[in-house]
């Protein structure tokens, strides 16, 4: 059984079901990338897994437990960390306070956690006392990912981690994502920047209209001419 198994999930906000039967699986240490057009339900699927969007039917199993509609505040204890696309840092808190918030449910793990994530994102060390709202977009993204890694999650959900970043920062983020996966953490990532993301993906999922359009190893999706034409901009 995979670490995360999403099976035919239907759900969304209010009456509108944006997700119309999406499925995917992710293993520990694996990079799974979700791509698709705007409005395909990529971010909604991430939020459904994180417990922030109502699931009407289907199942989401994490480490063997059914977590569909489980409270969002309990996910971090299960080992599932989520980095939203926008507003993913506490802007008035300093970088260090943001990292401390990452270990909120286990304060005893704070010190070791900070040392570990600063080793992964050394640039943040010099900015520990700076309010996160004053950082550049790329640094903010690093704070958000570092915060999510504080308690050594088994799976991290990254919603468009490279949105709005310069190519140099994108490369840095993808390289760190690979390092995170190598350390045994499962990575489930939504990316607009589809080609470089699929290139490092063990598994790629193409979503369209809230459903799976295709599921295959990332490089295989990249090589598929129809997928390329329809979803990856030719």
């Amino acid at each position: 059984m995979a670490l995360l198994e999403v099976d035919r999930v239907v759900g969304g906000y209010g009456e509108a079901d944006i997700l119309q039967g999406a499925s995917l699986a992710a293993e520990a240490g694996e990079i799974v990338v979700i791509v698709g057009a705007n409005g395909a339900g990529k971010s909604t699927l991430m939020k459904a897994i994180a417990g922030l969007v109502r699931v009407r039917s289907g199942s989401i199993r994490f480490a063997g437990d059914e977590i569909a509609n489980a409270p969002a505040e309990g996910m971090i204890r299960r080992g599932l960390a989520y980095v939203p696309q926008e507003r993913n840092v506490f802007p008035s808190l300093t970088v260090e306070e943001n990292l401390r918030m990452g270990a909120y449910v286990r304060p005893d793990a704070t010190r070791a956690g900070i040392a570990r994530v600063l080793a992964l994102f050394p640039d943040l060390d010099a900015r520990r006392g700076v309010a996160a709202g004053r950082l550049s977009g790329g640094q903010r993204q690093m704070v958000a990912i570092a915060r999510a890694l504080m308690l050594e999650p088994r799976l991290i959900l990254l919603d468009e981690p490279t949105a709005g970043l310069s190519p140099r920062f994108c490369a840095v983020i993808f390289e760190r994502v690979q390092a995170i996966a190598r350390a045994g953490v499962g990575v489930l990532m939504v990316e607009q920047n589809a080609r470089p993301a699929l290139a490092i993906a063990d598994r790629g999922v193409v979503l369209a209209m809230g459903r799976n359009r295709a599921t295959a190893p990332g490089p295989a999706l990249l090589a598929d001419p129809e997928i390329g034409r329809l979803f990856l901009g030719g």
Binding site: F90, E97, R147
Partner: protein, 294 residues
Amino acid sequence: MAELITFYLVPGLVLGAIYAMSATGLSLVYGVIRFANFAHGDLMGLGAYAALAASQGLGLSPWASIPFAAAATVPAALAADVLFYARLRRSLPAVLLISSFGTALMLRAVIYLAFGPTPQTFGRAIVPPLMLWGLRIQERHVWIIAGAAASAAVLHLILARTRAGRAMRAMADDPDLARITGVPTEAVIRLTWTIAAVLVAIAGVFLGLDTQLTPVMGFNVLLASFAAAILGGIGRPWGAALGGLILGLAEECSSYPVVGGAPLLEPSYKSAVAFAVLIVTLIARPQGLFRGMG
């Protein structure tokens, strides 16, 4: 100069300290729970009267009866949250606001019922003023200013240094992100109510000590507290505290005879100063004076 300090600046600081404590709680609730609590003023009245009852019933000094004030306001605030606000948390802000109006009326009705409409005092004895640096200053004024400063220091330590305080600030920044990081949001909301209710209880006792107790005392301070909170950038406790001090000083100094012997503004117009400041702030700088101060 001594007259300016004794009769205008010191009373201005005292009033400002009371506004600051009230506005800080108001701003904290606005920041974390995201609604404008119109019951805040009547909570202050409840606290003041609870302290009066303890002071008269147990023969305590008003200062020693402050814990009784908090013992009334904290359960009242938490009960209003459980009974009314929690159920309406996901509805429109206007609905919450109106429900807080209703809560305010209920609290005031309880005060009228228990203590009647006649103004009362803590029955303080005539205390000769202290002579500090050649100035005559009422002893209670010194204690009120010191008490407000101590409360601000404790609040600062809670917000900046404790895990719970960080969680409150995180929730004020982004409630969804706070939930994702595992913050028990309802517990943080209860803590916020508790802190705001303690602050407003102390402010109520201070106000009662400085003037007198009336069932509408809190409501009368409410709008000035809102003005102070908005002046400081609503949702920012430190801005609210500074806003309160500025308003208190502005109100008291507005009647200083700058030219000749007549007051600049008749003292009966004093309370209009807060509204004038509020209106000017809303027009000129709706985000408040201290945006960006954290």
